[in-house]
């Protein structure tokens, strides 16, 4: 039986994966809003808007779940991250605020092209900043540069150097390309219009290649930027088969997009994302904030973890039908286009 904190960490990792697959794709929608071009720019934007509108707020809650579990179960890690990564997190928050508000303001403001475009720009740029800063934060957490005195919780930081570095930003852009890829692949199935489908197929291919490039760059930079992660990703028993599997899924995903097997691509691309995040989780384990904080040395006592875990599991099971219904109504086969 694993320790309770490992279960909570597992729930957090799963939440992060679901957040990327759902909320991440919503940010990717913003990317493609910015790059909406040609004679179909407006229909592209409308497609993105209709795809996001009913679900983005529910998707966003996964981030809240991650934050809450972090401060409940690993309070010192939360305090450390909040202190050392104050700046990228603040930028991420501003992005979250502007993304969500610009999205609704665009719907309810006057519908002249000029106003519409202005809110679209805010929405799109905020949708780009947010996942970059989320990635920068995760990259900095993985980099092993945030030093903490475990006993006193004192963080040794200049508030910049741990995140303002090549590796965290590589992870930031890596995250962004993943969001863009997910969005483009989902959007190919949000429309019956073959022209629009063609547009998003091209975008998905561009994003898939960018994901590959950013994965390579991140891996190269990790040698200096995040040595302990590199150790995990490069030298563990599981690492070689895992890389081969992830790479194979990525290649198949590109192939399926190329051959217009969009239903297949919608399965393969999320699997690729799951493998990437899962691999990072395995490589970072047992550190929550390398090099001083582990899951076990920051865990709250079992008297806290046990009821929280029970609540999260029971609540999660109860929410499944609600989520299923939301997606069935708006993303199911009965959807009108």
């Amino acid at each position: 039986m694993l320790n309770l904190e490992i279960w909570i960490a597992g729930v957090m990792l799963i939440s992060l994966i679901i957040y990327m697959l759902t909320g991440g794709a919503d940010f990717g929608g913003g990317v493609w809003d910015l790059f909406a071009t040609g004679s179909r720019a407006k229909t592209q934007r409308n497609l993105i808007t209709n795809a996001l509108a009913p679900i983005w707020e529910a998707n966003h809650v996964w981030l809240i779940v991650i934050v809450v579990l972090l401060f409940v179960a690993f309070p010192v890690a939360f305090a450390t991250i909040g202190t050392a990564l104050h700046i990228p997190l603040t930028l991420m928050l501003i992005g979250i605020v502007l993304r969500g508000t610009a999205f609704v303001f665009r719907t309810y403001d006057d519908q002249s092209d000029k106003t519409h475009l202005r809110w679209s720009r805010v929405f799109a740029i905020a949708s780009i900043i947010t996942p970059i800063m989320l990635g920068v934060t995760l990259g900095a957490v993985a980099s092993g540069t945030i030093h903490v005195d475990v006993e006193t919780g004192t963080v040794d930081t200049d508030f910049f150097s741990s995140w303002f570095a090549p590796f965290p930003f590589a992870i930031g852009f890596f995250t962004l390309t993943l969001c863009a890829l997910l969005a483009a692949v989902y959007l190919t199935l949000e429309t019956d219009n073959s022209e629009l489908q063609k547009d998003f197929r091209v975008r998905a291919l561009i994003a898939a290649v960018s994901v590959g490039a950013m994965a390579g760059i991140s891996f190269l930079l990790s040698a200096k930027g995040a040595p302990s992660i590199r150790q995990g990703l490069g030298n563990s028993v599981w690492s070689i088969p895992f890389h081969i599997l992830t790479g194979a899924v990525a290649v198949c995903a590109i192939w399926s997009i190329w051959r217009r097997y969009f239903q297949l691509a919608r399965v393969l691309v999320p699997i690729q994302v799951v493998l990437i995040i899962f691999g990072w989780g395995l490589a970072q384990f047992p550190y929550i904030v390398a090099p001083n904080l582990t899951f076990s040395n920051t865990a709250a006592p079992d008297s806290v973890l046990r009821p929280v875990l029970i609540v999260v599991i029971i609540g999660g099971v109860m929410l499944v039908p609600a989520f299923w219904y939301l997606y069935a109504v708006f993303k199911g086969t009965s959807r009108t286009s």
């Binding site: 809650v61 981030l63 179960a73 939360f78 991250i81 909040g82």
Partner: protein
């Protein structure tokens, strides 16, 4: 600006901004569910139009509430890492439950706002009920966490370390019930009168308009009924304060001396130098009675507390007076409305009454802001009452004035846009 002050200012500003949208998110679903329910029952299309119009305004408010709430959950760590490292596990239970409630709210909101044409009518109405339930529960859970800061329970401190954490006991601390009740009612009160006030404005110009008559009736009923309940909840809060946070009560009342038969003060200016409250109208023995149900009960005064452990008395006293004054005006409006409706056997659309209700539009929100000022400033200098000082919880991050200004500018910008868009929604038709 000193970093601690900047952090407090940013937190206060973020809370003050969020609470408006959170309150609307809690209470508007009730009005929408009533209107839609009336439509299902009477088949009168006016009610459907009303539910749809209200849901448009609410969509804007919800989005702003969701993102500003996210900011707050992060700010706990960005600004108060010392507090969160200490308290995170203890108050984790209500926050975890709040996360689940927020899911319920957000999922069913999507169905409610965008599912008019896609789901069966009764399912749609049920989605509205779930938004209401999710929103109310989210609010209650978050307030419970705040209540713990006022009356921390559910743990013990052994050699300076927190042990024996009981998250359920922490959640069910002595302030939870009274605070959650007071805030939930306040949301319905504020929103009821704000909506009634807006529709009263239109009814003065067009008293026979069926749309505004129905809207006014629903909103006034909600606001009026809650206005009569809120003093009971206020009394519960006062008695809880007298027992658990006598310093806060003393600051609210400007009570400097510990005395039996303490008076209730209306108005007045507390002087923190000379330790007196001047120019107040004093109702003899009333405070003792309200706090303990006994005209001669002893009330603790601020002089019993060393100055470094006192909250800023004047702010707390003024804020409390403002909250009570707003509440009394709304109670009067509620009673008058009920009396007029009973006398006239119909909707009270007398011109002078509509004017009165129009003036009530902002009062509930002013009361909410004032009430949170009492709660939060009245707890100072503590972040966890009697356990951790606010100054010991703040981040070591320098130049906090920059994010404070950044978020302030952002929130002012959003407020302006929201007002413009709401005016557009309201005045469009």
């Amino acid at each position: 600006m000193e970093d601690l002050l900047a952090a407090r200012a940013q937190m206060a500003m973020s809370l003050a901004f969020h609470i408006i949208f959170a309150s609307i998110g809690i209470a508007m679903p009730l009005l929408m569910v009533i209107a839609e329910g009336m439509w299902l029952k009477t088949k009168d299309e006016t009610y459907l139009t009303l539910a749809k119009r209200w849901s448009k305004g609410t969509a804007i408010m919800f989005a702003v509430g969701a993102v500003s709430g996210t900011v707050l959950s992060f700010e706990l760590g960005l600004l108060w890492p010392g507090f969160m490292a200490y308290a995170g596990p203890i108050i984790g239970m209500p926050f975890s439950l709040e996360g689940l409630a927020f899911f319920v709210e957000a999922i069913f909101l999507g169905i409610y706002l965008y599912g008019w044409e896609r789901v069966p009518k009764t399912v749609h109405w049920f989605a509205g009920v779930m938004v209401l339930v999710g929103g109310m529960l989210s609010g209650i859970f978050v307030v419970t966490a705040n209540a713990w800061m006022n009356t921390p329970t559910g743990f013990s401190i052994v050699e300076g370390k927190v042990t024996n954490i009981d998250p359920i006991a922490a959640m069910l601390n002595p302030s939870s019930f009274s605070q959650a009740l007071h805030m939930t009612l306040a949301a319905f009160l504020a929103v009821g009168f704000a909506v009634a006030g807006i529709h009263a404005y239109f009814l003065r110009r067009d008293p026979d308009n069926p749309f505004h008559r129905k809207a006014f009736a629903i909103a006034l009923c909600v606001g009026g009924v809650v206005a009569l309940l809120q003093p009971i909840s206020g009394d519960i809060s006062a008695k809880r304060l007298a027992k658990h946070q006598p310093v806060k009560l003393a600051a609210m009342e400007g009570q400097w001396e510990t005395e039996r038969g303490a008076p209730l003060r209306i108005g007045g200016i507390p002087d923190e130098e000379d330790e007196v409250t001047r120019y107040a109208i004093e109702i003899p023995k009333a405070l003792s009675f309200l706090a303990h149900f006994d005209f001669n009960a002893e009330i603790m005064g601020l002089k019993d507390v060393p100055p470094e452990n006192r909250p800023p008395v004047a702010i707390v006293h003024f804020a409390f007076q403002i909250m009570v004054a707003c509440g009394i005006v709304m109670i009067v409006a509620g009673i008058l409305g009920g009396w007029l409706a009973w006398r006239q056997k119909g909707l009270p659309v007398n011109s002078w009454y509509l004017r009165f209700v129009t003036y009530c539009t902002p009062l509930g929100f002013i009361a909410i802001e004032a009430g949170w000022t009492v709660t939060e400033v009245g707890r100072q200098p503590w972040v966890i009452y009697d356990i951790m000082r606010t100054a010991d919880a703040v981040t070591p991050m320098p130049n906090l004035v920059i994010p404070f200004i950044g978020f302030t500018v952002l929130y002012i910008f959003l407020s302006v846009i929201v007002v413009i868009l709401l005016r557009r929604q309201i005045f469009l038709n």
